[in-house]
Amino acid sequence: MNPWVRLAWVLSLTGIPLVLLLGVLFPFERSYYFVAFAVILLAIVPFFAAFEGRKPAAREVVIIAVMTAIAVTGRAAFFMVPQFKPGVAVVILAGVGLGRESGFVVGALTGFVSNFIFGHGPWTPWQMFAYGLIGFLAGVFFSRGAAERNGLGRGSRSYKPWIIGYGTVATFVIYGLLVDTASVMMWASEFTWPAIFAIYLSGVPFNALHAFASAVFLTLLSTLIVEKLTRLKTRYGMFQPR
Protein backbone atom coordinates (compact mmCIF):
# COMPACT_ATOMS: atom_id res chain seq x y z
CA MET A 1 0.00 0.00 0.00
CA ASN A 2 1.20 3.49 -0.85
CA PRO A 3 2.66 5.16 2.27
CA TRP A 4 0.43 8.21 1.82
CA VAL A 5 -2.66 6.03 1.70
CA ARG A 6 -1.48 4.25 4.83
CA LEU A 7 -0.90 7.60 6.51
CA ALA A 8 -4.41 8.69 5.55
CA TRP A 9 -5.92 5.53 7.04
CA VAL A 10 -3.89 5.97 10.23
CA LEU A 11 -4.92 9.62 10.40
CA SER A 12 -8.57 8.73 9.93
CA LEU A 13 -8.70 5.65 12.14
CA THR A 14 -6.86 7.28 15.03
CA GLY A 15 -8.22 10.75 14.38
CA ILE A 16 -11.91 9.89 14.59
CA PRO A 17 -11.77 8.09 17.97
CA LEU A 18 -9.40 10.79 19.25
CA VAL A 19 -11.80 13.55 18.26
CA LEU A 20 -14.72 11.65 19.81
CA LEU A 21 -12.72 11.05 22.98
CA LEU A 22 -11.71 14.71 23.21
CA GLY A 23 -15.33 15.67 22.70
CA VAL A 24 -16.37 13.44 25.60
CA LEU A 25 -13.48 14.40 27.90
CA PHE A 26 -13.51 18.15 27.31
CA PRO A 27 -17.07 19.09 26.46
CA PHE A 28 -17.70 22.75 25.92
CA GLU A 29 -20.70 24.64 24.62
CA ARG A 30 -21.77 22.93 21.36
CA SER A 31 -18.65 20.76 21.15
CA TYR A 32 -20.70 18.02 19.45
CA TYR A 33 -21.02 20.34 16.45
CA PHE A 34 -17.28 20.47 15.88
CA VAL A 35 -16.79 16.83 16.79
CA ALA A 36 -19.33 15.77 14.16
CA PHE A 37 -17.87 18.09 11.53
CA ALA A 38 -14.31 16.86 12.17
CA VAL A 39 -15.44 13.22 12.06
CA ILE A 40 -17.14 13.75 8.69
CA LEU A 41 -14.05 15.42 7.21
CA LEU A 42 -11.74 12.73 8.61
CA ALA A 43 -14.02 10.01 7.25
CA ILE A 44 -13.71 11.37 3.71
CA VAL A 45 -9.88 11.48 3.83
CA PRO A 46 -8.95 7.77 3.43
CA PHE A 47 -11.30 7.26 0.46
CA PHE A 48 -9.82 10.19 -1.40
CA ALA A 49 -6.29 9.12 -0.42
CA ALA A 50 -6.97 5.63 -1.77
CA PHE A 51 -7.99 7.14 -5.10
CA GLU A 52 -4.90 9.35 -5.20
CA GLY A 53 -2.56 6.59 -4.08
CA ARG A 54 -3.83 4.20 -6.74
CA LYS A 55 -2.51 6.60 -9.40
CA PRO A 56 -5.64 5.95 -11.49
CA ALA A 57 -5.27 5.26 -15.19
CA ALA A 58 -6.44 7.90 -17.66
CA ARG A 59 -9.48 5.83 -18.60
CA GLU A 60 -10.57 5.37 -15.00
CA VAL A 61 -10.29 9.10 -14.33
CA VAL A 62 -12.38 9.92 -17.38
CA ILE A 63 -15.05 7.29 -16.65
CA ILE A 64 -15.35 8.49 -13.05
CA ALA A 65 -15.65 12.06 -14.31
CA VAL A 66 -18.32 10.94 -16.81
CA MET A 67 -20.41 9.18 -14.15
CA THR A 68 -20.10 12.16 -11.80
CA ALA A 69 -21.09 14.57 -14.53
CA ILE A 70 -24.11 12.39 -15.42
CA ALA A 71 -25.19 12.38 -11.77
CA VAL A 72 -24.73 16.15 -11.49
CA THR A 73 -26.51 16.75 -14.79
CA GLY A 74 -29.33 14.56 -13.56
CA ARG A 75 -29.55 16.56 -10.38
CA ALA A 76 -29.54 19.82 -12.35
CA ALA A 77 -31.79 18.73 -15.25
CA PHE A 78 -34.66 17.71 -12.97
CA PHE A 79 -34.43 20.90 -10.96
CA MET A 80 -38.10 21.73 -11.47
CA VAL A 81 -39.19 18.83 -9.28
CA PRO A 82 -37.63 19.17 -5.82
CA GLN A 83 -36.25 15.92 -4.40
CA PHE A 84 -37.32 13.94 -7.47
CA LYS A 85 -33.80 13.48 -8.81
CA PRO A 86 -31.81 10.62 -10.32
CA GLY A 87 -28.52 11.62 -8.62
CA VAL A 88 -28.46 8.88 -5.98
CA ALA A 89 -29.48 6.26 -8.55
CA VAL A 90 -26.57 7.17 -10.83
CA VAL A 91 -24.13 7.14 -7.90
CA ILE A 92 -25.36 3.68 -6.82
CA LEU A 93 -25.04 2.31 -10.35
CA ALA A 94 -21.52 3.77 -10.60
CA GLY A 95 -20.67 1.86 -7.42
CA VAL A 96 -22.23 -1.33 -8.82
CA GLY A 97 -20.55 -1.01 -12.19
CA LEU A 98 -17.13 0.38 -11.22
CA GLY A 99 -16.55 -0.94 -7.70
CA ARG A 100 -16.72 0.50 -4.21
CA GLU A 101 -13.73 2.90 -4.33
CA SER A 102 -14.92 4.52 -7.54
CA GLY A 103 -18.44 4.51 -6.13
CA PHE A 104 -17.28 6.64 -3.23
CA VAL A 105 -15.34 9.05 -5.44
CA VAL A 106 -18.25 9.46 -7.87
CA GLY A 107 -20.63 10.07 -4.95
CA ALA A 108 -18.46 12.53 -3.05
CA LEU A 109 -17.61 14.48 -6.20
CA THR A 110 -21.30 14.56 -7.16
CA GLY A 111 -22.15 16.19 -3.84
CA PHE A 112 -19.28 18.61 -4.20
CA VAL A 113 -19.70 19.68 -7.84
CA SER A 114 -23.48 19.91 -7.79
CA ASN A 115 -23.16 22.45 -5.00
CA PHE A 116 -21.36 24.76 -7.40
CA ILE A 117 -24.81 24.91 -9.02
CA PHE A 118 -26.99 24.69 -5.91
CA GLY A 119 -24.67 26.66 -3.60
CA HIS A 120 -22.07 25.59 -1.09
CA GLY A 121 -22.67 25.73 2.64
CA PRO A 122 -21.88 23.96 5.89
CA TRP A 123 -23.92 21.05 4.50
CA THR A 124 -21.45 20.32 1.65
CA PRO A 125 -19.19 17.81 3.52
CA TRP A 126 -22.27 16.00 4.83
CA GLN A 127 -23.74 15.65 1.36
CA MET A 128 -20.38 14.56 -0.02
CA PHE A 129 -20.00 11.87 2.60
CA ALA A 130 -23.62 10.72 2.27
CA TYR A 131 -23.42 10.33 -1.53
CA GLY A 132 -19.96 8.77 -1.22
CA LEU A 133 -21.03 6.23 1.39
CA ILE A 134 -24.07 5.24 -0.68
CA GLY A 135 -21.86 4.65 -3.73
CA PHE A 136 -19.27 2.79 -1.66
CA LEU A 137 -21.80 0.43 -0.07
CA ALA A 138 -23.43 -0.21 -3.45
CA GLY A 139 -20.00 -1.35 -4.62
CA VAL A 140 -19.49 -3.50 -1.53
CA PHE A 141 -22.84 -5.25 -1.94
CA PHE A 142 -23.22 -5.59 -5.70
CA SER A 143 -20.07 -4.90 -7.75
CA ARG A 144 -18.62 -8.42 -7.51
CA GLY A 145 -21.91 -9.91 -8.68
CA ALA A 146 -22.08 -7.42 -11.56
CA ALA A 147 -18.58 -8.36 -12.66
CA GLU A 148 -19.28 -12.12 -12.50
CA ARG A 149 -22.56 -11.96 -14.38
CA ASN A 150 -21.56 -9.26 -16.87
CA GLY A 151 -24.51 -7.17 -15.79
CA LEU A 152 -27.37 -7.65 -13.40
CA GLY A 153 -28.54 -11.03 -14.70
CA ARG A 154 -31.98 -11.78 -16.10
CA GLY A 155 -35.28 -13.10 -14.81
CA SER A 156 -35.26 -14.78 -11.45
CA ARG A 157 -31.45 -14.64 -11.28
CA SER A 158 -31.45 -10.89 -11.61
CA TYR A 159 -30.58 -8.96 -8.49
CA LYS A 160 -32.08 -5.74 -9.75
CA PRO A 161 -34.82 -5.85 -7.04
CA TRP A 162 -32.10 -5.90 -4.39
CA ILE A 163 -30.43 -2.84 -5.90
CA ILE A 164 -33.76 -1.01 -6.00
CA GLY A 165 -34.43 -1.99 -2.40
CA TYR A 166 -30.95 -0.92 -1.33
CA GLY A 167 -31.28 2.39 -3.17
CA THR A 168 -34.62 3.18 -1.54
CA VAL A 169 -33.40 2.40 1.96
CA ALA A 170 -30.01 4.07 1.45
CA THR A 171 -31.57 7.29 0.15
CA PHE A 172 -33.99 7.47 3.04
CA VAL A 173 -31.66 6.37 5.82
CA ILE A 174 -28.09 7.30 4.80
CA TYR A 175 -28.69 10.43 2.75
CA GLY A 176 -31.73 11.55 4.72
CA LEU A 177 -30.18 11.07 8.14
CA LEU A 178 -26.78 12.56 7.30
CA VAL A 179 -28.10 15.63 5.52
CA ASP A 180 -30.78 16.17 8.17
CA THR A 181 -28.02 15.96 10.75
CA ALA A 182 -26.36 18.83 8.93
CA SER A 183 -29.62 20.76 9.43
CA VAL A 184 -29.68 19.78 13.09
CA MET A 185 -26.25 21.39 13.38
CA MET A 186 -27.62 24.53 11.76
CA TRP A 187 -30.87 24.80 13.68
CA ALA A 188 -30.54 23.22 17.06
CA SER A 189 -27.82 25.24 18.70
CA GLU A 190 -28.67 23.17 21.75
CA PHE A 191 -28.48 19.39 21.75
CA THR A 192 -31.85 18.14 22.97
CA TRP A 193 -33.58 14.98 21.76
CA PRO A 194 -37.00 16.58 21.13
CA ALA A 195 -35.34 19.25 18.97
CA ILE A 196 -33.42 16.69 16.93
CA PHE A 197 -36.49 14.51 16.64
CA ALA A 198 -38.52 17.48 15.38
CA ILE A 199 -35.97 18.18 12.63
CA TYR A 200 -35.74 14.56 11.52
CA LEU A 201 -39.53 14.35 11.50
CA SER A 202 -39.86 17.46 9.35
CA GLY A 203 -37.40 15.88 6.91
CA VAL A 204 -39.43 12.68 6.49
CA PRO A 205 -41.68 13.81 3.60
CA PHE A 206 -38.71 15.11 1.59
CA ASN A 207 -36.65 12.01 2.25
CA ALA A 208 -39.57 9.75 1.38
CA LEU A 209 -40.03 11.51 -1.97
CA HIS A 210 -36.27 11.38 -2.57
CA ALA A 211 -36.20 7.64 -1.76
CA PHE A 212 -39.16 7.07 -4.05
CA ALA A 213 -37.35 8.93 -6.84
CA SER A 214 -34.30 6.72 -6.34
CA ALA A 215 -36.48 3.61 -6.57
CA VAL A 216 -38.10 4.85 -9.79
CA PHE A 217 -34.83 5.78 -11.47
CA LEU A 218 -33.13 2.57 -10.35
CA THR A 219 -36.01 0.60 -11.85
CA LEU A 220 -35.63 2.45 -15.12
CA LEU A 221 -31.85 2.74 -15.31
CA SER A 222 -30.10 -0.06 -13.45
CA THR A 223 -29.93 -2.72 -16.19
CA LEU A 224 -29.04 -0.17 -18.87
CA ILE A 225 -26.25 1.57 -16.99
CA VAL A 226 -24.66 -1.46 -15.36
CA GLU A 227 -24.54 -3.35 -18.65
CA LYS A 228 -22.91 -0.39 -20.36
CA LEU A 229 -20.32 -0.06 -17.63
CA THR A 230 -19.46 -3.77 -17.39
CA ARG A 231 -19.17 -4.00 -21.16
CA LEU A 232 -16.79 -1.05 -21.18
CA LYS A 233 -14.80 -2.58 -18.34
CA THR A 234 -14.33 -5.96 -20.00
CA ARG A 235 -13.64 -4.42 -23.39
CA TYR A 236 -10.92 -2.07 -22.21
CA GLY A 237 -9.69 -3.94 -19.14
CA MET A 238 -10.40 -1.07 -16.73
CA PHE A 239 -10.86 -1.07 -12.97
CA GLN A 240 -9.26 -4.47 -12.65
CA PRO A 241 -7.93 -5.30 -9.18
CA ARG A 242 -4.15 -4.95 -9.14
Binding site: V61, V62, A65, P122, E190
Partner: protein, 298 residues
Amino acid sequence: MVRNSDAFGSLHPVVVFGYFVLVVGVSVVFLHPLILTVSFVGALAYAFYLVRWAGLRKLLPGLMLLMVIAALFNPVFNHRGVTTLFYWEDNPITLEAVVYGWVAALMVGSVLLWFVSYNQVMTSDKFLCVFGHVVPALSLTFAMVLRFVPRYLAQAKRIAAAQRGIGRDVASGNWYARARHGAAVLSIMLTWALENAVDTSDSMLARGYGLPGRSAYNDFRWRERDLMGALALGGGLLVVIVASVAGVLRAEYFPAIELNPAVPLAWLVIGVWALVCFAPLLLGLKEEVTWRSFRSNS
Protein backbone atom coordinates in the same frame (compact mmCIF):
# COMPACT_ATOMS: atom_id res chain seq x y z
CA MET B 1 -15.66 31.31 -14.82
CA VAL B 2 -14.85 34.69 -13.31
CA ARG B 3 -18.17 35.88 -12.01
CA ASN B 4 -16.92 38.76 -9.96
CA SER B 5 -13.40 40.08 -10.16
CA ASP B 6 -13.26 42.35 -7.17
CA ALA B 7 -10.02 43.34 -5.47
CA PHE B 8 -10.25 40.77 -2.68
CA GLY B 9 -11.07 38.01 -5.13
CA SER B 10 -7.96 38.87 -7.12
CA LEU B 11 -5.75 37.91 -4.20
CA HIS B 12 -4.13 34.49 -4.34
CA PRO B 13 -6.76 31.71 -3.92
CA VAL B 14 -4.95 30.29 -0.89
CA VAL B 15 -5.44 33.61 0.92
CA VAL B 16 -9.07 33.88 -0.16
CA PHE B 17 -9.91 30.30 0.80
CA GLY B 18 -8.10 30.55 4.14
CA TYR B 19 -9.91 33.80 4.90
CA PHE B 20 -13.36 32.30 4.35
CA VAL B 21 -12.56 29.16 6.34
CA LEU B 22 -11.26 31.15 9.31
CA VAL B 23 -13.91 33.88 9.32
CA VAL B 24 -16.73 31.34 9.14
CA GLY B 25 -14.90 29.25 11.74
CA VAL B 26 -14.60 32.13 14.21
CA SER B 27 -18.25 33.07 13.66
CA VAL B 28 -19.34 29.52 14.38
CA VAL B 29 -17.04 28.77 17.31
CA PHE B 30 -17.23 31.91 19.45
CA LEU B 31 -20.92 32.61 20.01
CA HIS B 32 -20.39 36.17 21.18
CA PRO B 33 -23.16 38.64 20.31
CA LEU B 34 -20.75 41.40 19.27
CA ILE B 35 -18.51 39.12 17.21
CA LEU B 36 -21.58 37.76 15.44
CA THR B 37 -23.18 41.16 14.87
CA VAL B 38 -19.96 42.46 13.30
CA SER B 39 -19.59 39.26 11.27
CA PHE B 40 -23.21 39.46 10.11
CA VAL B 41 -23.00 43.11 9.06
CA GLY B 42 -19.62 42.53 7.39
CA ALA B 43 -20.91 39.51 5.49
CA LEU B 44 -24.07 41.36 4.48
CA ALA B 45 -22.12 44.40 3.27
CA TYR B 46 -19.65 42.33 1.27
CA ALA B 47 -22.41 40.18 -0.22
CA PHE B 48 -24.28 43.36 -1.17
CA TYR B 49 -21.09 44.76 -2.74
CA LEU B 50 -20.70 41.58 -4.82
CA VAL B 51 -24.23 40.72 -5.92
CA ARG B 52 -26.08 44.02 -5.31
CA TRP B 53 -29.84 44.16 -4.80
CA ALA B 54 -30.57 41.95 -7.75
CA GLY B 55 -28.72 39.07 -6.12
CA LEU B 56 -29.72 39.71 -2.52
CA ARG B 57 -33.41 40.25 -3.17
CA LYS B 58 -33.88 36.58 -3.97
CA LEU B 59 -31.90 35.44 -0.93
CA LEU B 60 -32.91 37.79 1.87
CA PRO B 61 -36.53 36.68 2.45
CA GLY B 62 -35.42 33.07 2.78
CA LEU B 63 -32.53 34.06 4.98
CA MET B 64 -34.78 36.11 7.27
CA LEU B 65 -37.20 33.21 7.53
CA LEU B 66 -34.38 30.81 8.39
CA MET B 67 -33.10 33.17 11.08
CA VAL B 68 -36.53 33.67 12.63
CA ILE B 69 -37.08 29.90 12.71
CA ALA B 70 -33.65 29.41 14.27
CA ALA B 71 -34.44 32.06 16.87
CA LEU B 72 -37.84 30.57 17.74
CA PHE B 73 -36.65 26.98 17.54
CA ASN B 74 -34.26 27.31 20.44
CA PRO B 75 -36.46 28.49 23.34
CA VAL B 76 -39.15 25.95 22.43
CA PHE B 77 -36.79 23.03 22.93
CA ASN B 78 -34.26 24.45 25.33
CA HIS B 79 -35.48 25.07 28.87
CA ARG B 80 -32.22 25.86 30.62
CA GLY B 81 -31.73 29.30 32.08
CA VAL B 82 -32.84 30.88 35.33
CA THR B 83 -35.17 33.66 34.13
CA THR B 84 -38.51 32.14 33.21
CA LEU B 85 -40.55 34.49 31.04
CA PHE B 86 -43.73 32.43 30.76
CA TYR B 87 -44.96 28.88 30.43
CA TRP B 88 -45.95 27.41 27.12
CA GLU B 89 -47.79 24.09 27.38
CA ASP B 90 -46.21 23.49 30.78
CA ASN B 91 -42.71 24.17 29.47
CA PRO B 92 -40.79 27.17 30.76
CA ILE B 93 -39.66 29.65 28.12
CA THR B 94 -36.57 31.31 29.54
CA LEU B 95 -35.01 34.68 28.73
CA GLU B 96 -31.63 33.01 28.35
CA ALA B 97 -32.91 30.58 25.74
CA VAL B 98 -34.62 33.39 23.80
CA VAL B 99 -31.42 35.45 23.74
CA TYR B 100 -29.39 32.38 22.86
CA GLY B 101 -31.82 31.65 20.03
CA TRP B 102 -31.27 35.08 18.52
CA VAL B 103 -27.50 34.74 18.86
CA ALA B 104 -27.73 31.38 17.12
CA ALA B 105 -29.88 32.99 14.44
CA LEU B 106 -27.17 35.61 13.91
CA MET B 107 -24.66 32.79 13.58
CA VAL B 108 -26.76 30.96 10.99
CA GLY B 109 -27.38 34.20 9.10
CA SER B 110 -23.76 35.28 9.01
CA VAL B 111 -22.52 31.85 7.92
CA LEU B 112 -25.04 31.76 5.07
CA LEU B 113 -24.16 35.30 4.03
CA TRP B 114 -20.44 34.52 4.02
CA PHE B 115 -21.23 31.61 1.76
CA VAL B 116 -23.02 33.96 -0.65
CA SER B 117 -19.73 35.81 -1.09
CA TYR B 118 -17.76 32.55 -1.08
CA ASN B 119 -19.81 31.23 -3.98
CA GLN B 120 -19.08 34.44 -5.91
CA VAL B 121 -15.38 34.78 -5.13
CA MET B 122 -14.11 31.23 -4.69
CA THR B 123 -14.75 30.01 -8.24
CA SER B 124 -13.86 26.47 -9.24
CA ASP B 125 -10.59 27.49 -10.95
CA LYS B 126 -9.40 28.97 -7.66
CA PHE B 127 -10.42 25.85 -5.81
CA LEU B 128 -8.33 23.85 -8.27
CA CYS B 129 -5.36 26.11 -7.59
CA VAL B 130 -5.60 25.46 -3.85
CA PHE B 131 -6.00 21.69 -4.09
CA GLY B 132 -4.33 20.84 -7.43
CA HIS B 133 -1.02 20.02 -5.75
CA VAL B 134 -2.45 18.20 -2.76
CA VAL B 135 -4.79 15.84 -4.62
CA PRO B 136 -3.79 15.95 -8.32
CA ALA B 137 -5.90 13.01 -9.57
CA LEU B 138 -9.03 14.18 -7.75
CA SER B 139 -8.50 17.76 -8.93
CA LEU B 140 -8.14 16.55 -12.51
CA THR B 141 -11.36 14.55 -12.19
CA PHE B 142 -13.05 17.57 -10.64
CA ALA B 143 -11.89 19.83 -13.50
CA MET B 144 -13.20 17.32 -16.04
CA VAL B 145 -16.58 17.12 -14.33
CA LEU B 146 -16.81 20.91 -14.43
CA ARG B 147 -16.25 20.81 -18.19
CA PHE B 148 -18.59 17.88 -18.72
CA VAL B 149 -21.61 19.26 -16.88
CA PRO B 150 -22.43 22.17 -19.23
CA ARG B 151 -21.56 19.96 -22.21
CA TYR B 152 -23.92 17.23 -21.03
CA LEU B 153 -26.69 19.69 -20.27
CA ALA B 154 -26.44 20.93 -23.86
CA GLN B 155 -26.34 17.37 -25.18
CA ALA B 156 -29.29 16.39 -22.98
CA LYS B 157 -31.32 19.17 -24.63
CA ARG B 158 -30.43 17.83 -28.08
CA ILE B 159 -31.30 14.25 -27.15
CA ALA B 160 -34.54 15.37 -25.53
CA ALA B 161 -35.49 17.26 -28.70
CA ALA B 162 -34.82 14.19 -30.83
CA GLN B 163 -36.80 12.02 -28.42
CA ARG B 164 -39.68 14.48 -28.54
CA GLY B 165 -39.68 13.99 -32.31
CA ILE B 166 -40.44 10.29 -31.86
CA GLY B 167 -43.13 10.94 -29.26
CA ARG B 168 -41.10 10.50 -26.07
CA ASP B 169 -41.46 13.99 -24.70
CA VAL B 170 -39.84 14.55 -21.32
CA ALA B 171 -42.44 17.20 -20.52
CA SER B 172 -45.67 15.38 -21.39
CA GLY B 173 -47.62 12.42 -20.13
CA ASN B 174 -48.10 11.39 -16.53
CA TRP B 175 -45.26 11.57 -14.02
CA TYR B 176 -44.07 8.01 -14.66
CA ALA B 177 -43.94 8.54 -18.43
CA ARG B 178 -41.94 11.71 -17.83
CA ALA B 179 -39.51 9.96 -15.52
CA ARG B 180 -39.18 7.12 -18.07
CA HIS B 181 -38.43 9.55 -20.89
CA GLY B 182 -35.99 11.45 -18.68
CA ALA B 183 -34.23 8.20 -17.81
CA ALA B 184 -34.05 7.31 -21.51
CA VAL B 185 -32.35 10.65 -22.23
CA LEU B 186 -29.88 9.99 -19.42
CA SER B 187 -29.12 6.51 -20.72
CA ILE B 188 -28.61 7.68 -24.32
CA MET B 189 -26.36 10.44 -23.02
CA LEU B 190 -24.30 7.92 -21.08
CA THR B 191 -23.60 5.87 -24.21
CA TRP B 192 -22.53 9.01 -26.06
CA ALA B 193 -20.43 10.16 -23.09
CA LEU B 194 -18.65 6.84 -22.64
CA GLU B 195 -17.72 6.73 -26.33
CA ASN B 196 -16.20 10.18 -25.98
CA ALA B 197 -14.52 9.17 -22.74
CA VAL B 198 -12.47 6.46 -24.45
CA ASP B 199 -11.26 9.01 -27.02
CA THR B 200 -10.51 11.55 -24.33
CA SER B 201 -8.48 9.11 -22.26
CA ASP B 202 -6.51 7.89 -25.29
CA SER B 203 -5.75 11.50 -26.08
CA MET B 204 -4.63 12.06 -22.47
CA LEU B 205 -2.30 9.06 -22.68
CA ALA B 206 -0.85 10.31 -25.95
CA ARG B 207 -0.09 13.63 -24.27
CA GLY B 208 1.79 11.98 -21.44
CA TYR B 209 -0.76 11.52 -18.65
CA GLY B 210 0.74 9.76 -15.66
CA LEU B 211 4.36 10.30 -16.65
CA PRO B 212 6.62 11.37 -13.80
CA GLY B 213 7.41 15.05 -13.33
CA ARG B 214 4.08 16.46 -14.49
CA SER B 215 2.84 19.53 -12.68
CA ALA B 216 -0.60 20.97 -12.05
CA TYR B 217 -1.67 23.94 -14.18
CA ASN B 218 -1.78 27.07 -12.12
CA ASP B 219 -2.80 30.48 -13.38
CA PHE B 220 -2.23 32.29 -10.10
CA ARG B 221 1.05 33.88 -9.04
CA TRP B 222 1.95 34.52 -5.44
CA ARG B 223 2.76 38.24 -5.33
CA GLU B 224 3.88 40.64 -2.68
CA ARG B 225 0.38 41.90 -1.99
CA ASP B 226 -0.78 38.35 -1.38
CA LEU B 227 1.85 38.04 1.34
CA MET B 228 0.77 41.39 2.80
CA GLY B 229 -2.88 40.38 2.70
CA ALA B 230 -2.16 37.01 4.27
CA LEU B 231 -0.10 38.57 7.05
CA ALA B 232 -2.62 41.33 7.79
CA LEU B 233 -5.69 39.11 7.73
CA GLY B 234 -3.93 36.20 9.44
CA GLY B 235 -2.57 38.49 12.15
CA GLY B 236 -5.99 40.01 12.76
CA LEU B 237 -7.64 36.62 12.96
CA LEU B 238 -4.92 35.38 15.29
CA VAL B 239 -5.56 38.31 17.65
CA VAL B 240 -9.30 37.58 17.70
CA ILE B 241 -8.84 33.84 18.21
CA VAL B 242 -6.23 34.20 20.95
CA ALA B 243 -8.27 36.88 22.73
CA SER B 244 -11.43 34.77 22.58
CA VAL B 245 -9.70 31.65 23.83
CA ALA B 246 -7.99 33.66 26.60
CA GLY B 247 -11.38 34.96 27.74
CA VAL B 248 -11.09 38.62 26.74
CA LEU B 249 -14.29 38.07 24.78
CA ARG B 250 -16.49 35.72 26.71
CA ALA B 251 -20.20 35.02 26.48
CA GLU B 252 -22.07 32.47 28.51
CA TYR B 253 -25.82 32.02 28.28
CA PHE B 254 -26.62 29.28 30.77
CA PRO B 255 -27.65 29.22 33.51
CA ALA B 256 -27.56 33.04 33.43
CA ILE B 257 -26.33 35.42 30.74
CA GLU B 258 -22.80 36.47 31.49
CA LEU B 259 -20.75 38.74 29.27
CA ASN B 260 -17.24 39.92 29.98
CA PRO B 261 -16.93 43.51 31.21
CA ALA B 262 -16.58 46.08 28.43
CA VAL B 263 -12.91 46.76 29.03
CA PRO B 264 -10.90 48.71 26.42
CA LEU B 265 -9.06 45.53 25.45
CA ALA B 266 -12.32 43.83 24.52
CA TRP B 267 -13.33 46.77 22.33
CA LEU B 268 -9.90 46.69 20.70
CA VAL B 269 -10.40 43.03 19.80
CA ILE B 270 -13.85 43.79 18.40
CA GLY B 271 -12.26 46.57 16.36
CA VAL B 272 -9.67 44.19 14.93
CA TRP B 273 -12.43 41.69 14.14
CA ALA B 274 -14.43 44.42 12.39
CA LEU B 275 -11.38 45.30 10.27
CA VAL B 276 -10.99 41.62 9.34
CA CYS B 277 -14.68 41.24 8.46
CA PHE B 278 -14.82 44.42 6.41
CA ALA B 279 -11.39 43.94 4.80
CA PRO B 280 -12.71 42.45 1.51
CA LEU B 281 -15.23 45.27 1.13
CA LEU B 282 -12.71 48.00 2.06
CA LEU B 283 -10.16 46.53 -0.33
CA GLY B 284 -12.72 46.56 -3.14
CA LEU B 285 -13.82 50.14 -2.40
CA LYS B 286 -10.23 51.36 -2.18
CA GLU B 287 -9.51 49.80 -5.56
CA GLU B 288 -12.54 51.53 -7.09
CA VAL B 289 -11.54 54.90 -5.63
CA THR B 290 -8.02 54.49 -7.01
CA TRP B 291 -9.44 53.54 -10.37
CA ARG B 292 -11.73 56.58 -10.46
CA SER B 293 -8.93 58.93 -9.44
CA PHE B 294 -6.74 57.67 -12.27
CA ARG B 295 -9.44 58.19 -14.86
CA SER B 296 -9.00 61.38 -16.82
CA ASN B 297 -11.99 63.67 -16.55
CA SER B 298 -11.49 65.53 -19.79
